[in-house]
C-alpha cells in the first residue's frame, strides 16, 4: 500500500527503530471538553492507570509539540473551529483519539442545535473509544492499539496521503464499516 522507502529493503530496520521510538514517546495534547475528561484524567494522572508507563507524555506546552490529540467530550459547533485550528498546528505525523460517545458521534446530544455530530466531521480520527464515558482501561486500550499501528506502519505514508481504516476499541474484526 505504500511507496515508502523505510519499510523496504535494507532500510527496514531503520524504519522499525523509528517506529519503535515514535510509539513510546507519544506527546499527547489533551482536549478535555466534558465529563470524559475526568476519565481521561484518571488514566493520565492516577497511579492506578498511569498512562505514562506506556510512554505517553500528556503535557506538551503547545499543540506544536504534540504527536497525539485526544478529544474527550462534547464538541460544539462553537468549539469546532478551535479544534481544527489547533489540530492543524500539530506537526505530522499526528494521531487523533476520539474518546466517548459525544466525540464519536454526538452521543446523547445527537439532536442538539449546538453539538457537532462527531469530531470526525472536522478532523480525521484514528481511534474511536466508545463509552459514555469510557473507562480508563478502554482509553488505555485505545492508546495501545494506536501504538501497535504505529509500530507496523510505514513512517513515510503519513506524509504521502495514505488512507487508514479507523480503529474502534472493543469492536470485533470486520465489524467496522469503512
Amino acid at each position: 500500500m505504500t511507496s515508502g522507502a523505510l519499510r523496504k529493503g535494507p532500510l527496514k530496520p531503520v524504519g522499525d527503530l523509528l517506529n519503535y521510538s515514535r510509539k513510546y514517546s507519544l506527546w499527547m495534547f489533551q482536549w478535555g471538553l466534558a465529563c470524559c475528561a475526568i476519565e481521561m484524567g484518571a488514566a493520565l494522572a492516577g497511579p492506578r492507570y498511569d498512562v505514562m508507563r506506556l510512554g505517553v507524555i500528556p503535557f506538551p506546552a503547545s499543540p506544536r509539540q504534540a504527536d497525539l490529540i485526544v478529544i474527550s467530550g462534547t464538541v460544539t459547533d462553537k468549539m469546532a473551529p478551535a479544534i481544527k485550528r489547533l489540530y492543524e498546528q500539530m506537526p505530522d505525523p499526528k494521531y487523533v483519539i476520539s474518546m466517548g460517545s459525544c466525540a464519536n458521534c454526538g452521543g446523547p446530544y445527537w439532536d442538539s442545535y449546538s453539538v457537532t455530530k462527531g469530531v470526525d466531521q472536522i478532523i480525521p480520527v484514528d481511534v474511536y473509544v466508545p463509552g459514555c464515558p469510557p473507562r480508563p482501561e478502554a482509553f488505555i486500550q485505545g492508546v495501545v492499539m494506536l501504538q501497535e499501528r504505529i509500530q507496523s506502519e510505514d513512517p513515510a505514508s503519513r506524509w504521502n496521503g495514505g488512507h487508514w481504516e479507523p480503529i474502534v476499541v472493543g469492536a470485533a474484526a470486520g465489524e467496522v464499516d469503512a
Binding site: D77, K78, W110, D111, S112, Y113, S114
Partner: protein, 228 residues
C-alpha cells in the same frame, strides 16, 4: 394560575407571608402600584409582574430603593407548548407537558416573557422575582445593563436563545452560539433538524425485546440458529 393578568392583583395579598406583604408594599411605593400587573407568592418567594414600559424602572427601584444589590439572573420564557409526541420532532417529555398554553404563577399576556431575580447581599434570604410580558410579533424590552452591569451576558444569552431585543444593551452579540447561527433555539417552535430525519427514539414507550412478535428485525433463532 390565573389565565390573563388580572390587574387588581397588586392588592390581592392573600396567603402571603408578612415579609412578602411588606416587600410588596415597598416596591409598590417605590415603583407606583400602577406599574405592577400581578403579584404572587410562590414557594415562599414574591413574584411580581410589571408593565413592560416600567421594566427598567423596576430594576432601578430594586437597586436603589429596596437595596437589592445582587442580580441573580435574567432569562426568557416561551410558554408555547413543546411539540407533542405525535409530531415527528416531539420528545418523551411532551406527555407530562401541557398541551395548551399555560402561563405559570404570575400569569402572562402572551407567549413570551422575560424574568429576572434580584437579591440582597446584606439581608439573607430576601429576594424578588420580576416578570415582564413581551410582544409576540416583535419581542423587546428595556435593558437592565445600566442598572445591573451583570445583566449584560444574561441579556445576550436571552437575545440569542429567544430572539428578544433589549433596548439600550451595549452590544447584543452571540455569546454561546457560533456567530453565523440562524434561529433562536430555545423557542419551542425551533426545528431540531436531527429529529426531522430520525424521530426521537424515546417515543417508543417500551421497546420490544429481540425475538418478540412486535420486533421488526429477524428473530434471533432463525438468523443465527444452530448454536445450541
Amino acid at each position: 394560575m390565573s389565565d390573563d393578568g388580572a390587574p387588581d392583583a397588586a392588592e390581592g395579598a392573600t396567603s402571603m407571608s408578612d415579609s412578602n406583604v411588606a416587600l410588596l408594599e415597598r416596591i409598590s411605593t417605590a415603583l407606583g402600584s400602577d406599574a405592577i400587573v400581578e403579584s404572587v407568592e410562590s414557594l415562599g418567594d414574591l413574584v411580581v409582574r410589571v408593565r413592560a414600559d416600567r421594566w427598567r424602572d423596576a430594576a432601578q427601584a430594586c437597586r436603589t430603593e429596596l437595596g437589592f444589590d445582587y442580580l441573580s439572573f435574567v432569562g426568557g420564557i416561551d410558554w408555547q407548548p413543546a411539540p407533542s409526541a405525535d409530531e415527528g420532532s416531539g420528545d418523551t417529555s411532551a406527555p407530562v407537558q401541557p398541551k395548551e398554553q399555560t402561563y405559570g404563577v404570575a400569569g402572562s399576556a402572551g407567549r413570551f416573557q422575560v424574568f429576572a431575580r434580584v437579591a440582597s447581599t446584606h439581608v439573607p434570604r430576601v429576594g424578588l422575582t420580576l416578570k415582564v410580558d413581551l410582544d409576540e410579533e416583535s419581542p423587546a424590552v428595556a435593558s437592565w445593563t445600566s442598572v445591573y452591569p451583570g445583566a449584560d451576558w444574561h441579556e445576550r444569552e436571552t437575545w440569542e436563545m429567544y430572539g428578544f431585543d433589549f433596548h439600550g444593551h451595549p452590544s447584543l452579540r452571540h455569546l454561546y452560539l457560533p456567530s453565523g447561527f440562524e434561529g433562536h433555539p430555545l423557542r419551542k417552535d425551533f426545528p431540531l433538524l436531527a429529529r426531522e430525519v430520525k424521530p426521537w427514539p424515546g417515543l417508543v414507550d417500551v421497546e420490544g425485546m429481540p425475538g418478540d412478535a412486535s420486533d421488526e428485525t429477524e428473530a434471533p433463532d432463525s438468523a443465527g440458529g444452530g448454536d445450541a
